[in-house]
């Protein structure tokens, strides 16, 4: 509990309430942004397992498409994060 208290104390000693609210907004926004891509990445790997078990001879081809899909989906997390950062540092 002592650890928790000190974290809360450190967090509440932020310079201005506006900044604290912005920090919370950045955290919540970036966190919400991970939900969709999380489902998407899980879906991609699930489908890959399904297709490889069905057609093991297609494995190499599926693997290369799998990484393409993974990278495209995973990047969406960072779009949310980066635009959150832009709003955090440049927003009024």
């Amino acid at each position: 509990m002592a650890v928790m208290d000190t974290i809360l104390a450190a967090a509440s000693s932020s310079s201005s309430p506006n900044k604290a609210i912005k920090s919370i907004a950045l955290g919540v926004g970036a966190g919400l942004g991970t939900i969709g891509p999380g489902i998407g990445v899980g879906y991609i790997f699930g489908k890959v397992i399904e297709s490889v078990t069905r057609q093991p001879e297609m494995r190499d081809e599926i693997t290369s498409i799998q990484w393409l899909g993974f990278a495209l989906t995973e990047a969406i997390v960072f779009y949310a994060f980066i635009f959150g950062l832009i709003a955090f540092f440049l927003g009024g």
Partner: protein, 299 residues
Amino acid sequence: MRTRTKLLLALATWIALGILFGAIFGNAGRNNAFQPQNEFKLDPWVKIKLGSLDLSLNKAVLYIVLAATATSWTMVWISRRMQARPNRVQTAVEAAYILMRDNITFGNMDRRMATKWFPFIGTLFLFIWFSNIIGYFPLPVNTQEKFDLFGVHVPAFAIYAATANLSIPLVLTLMVWFSYHIEGIRTQGFVPYLRSWIPAGVQGFAAVPIFVIEVISHFVRIISLSVRLFANLLAGHLLILFMAGGLVVLLGLAAIGVFTLPVAVAFYAFEVVLIATLQAFIFATLAAIYFGGATAAHH
């Protein structure tokens, strides 16, 4: 049962270590002097100003020169020492070459276009890969913090990547964007190229909104391609920075470090093994897909 006991014991030791650190070092108070975002701040080392244009040499310039040198020097060096019986390095480079040629370029374009654009796509892949990988080696580039090494003031070691700065991915993206449009216009002609954006089968008035959507999607490609690479690298560096010690120094809580350091090591491995290569691969593949789409006869 025994493995489970061991695991539980290890977990208990770990948590106990965290509590111990918390008890011994306590809370040193919030550290306001430490500015972790300075890792991404570019101090001008050699000031060059042309009017209002800032061309100062800084950390990003050093990294981009390093990446370019590494790309050309390694590849020229290996190609000069090609042997019939390849050693391990040559095998790896040959595998990368085959990946770039067959998988990325020839898999997404027709033969003639692929032969023409393979050097460009291959260079993109290698340059981004080297610049990502160099970004994970700690180099003495943090000129704000210095430490004393036998009387010499050496800048503190820091990690930074040329691709973790929006400018470099943006320039690469603009190069790809303009080249594929120009190549599309050159192979198909201006009006047929614009017409090829509308999918086959769409007729009459419905083509207008679809064309507008296609125009928007072509511009969105600039953002998505550049921000994907930049954000992946930036977020990776931020995660490593905060987990490996940024949070500890910032909050003045040594106990947190016990729990965040393993996360930092895991993220570091994840970034080096997977993300660095994957982002170079995806950038080159998407560039090849855009070229293929712009120069394909019709869909």
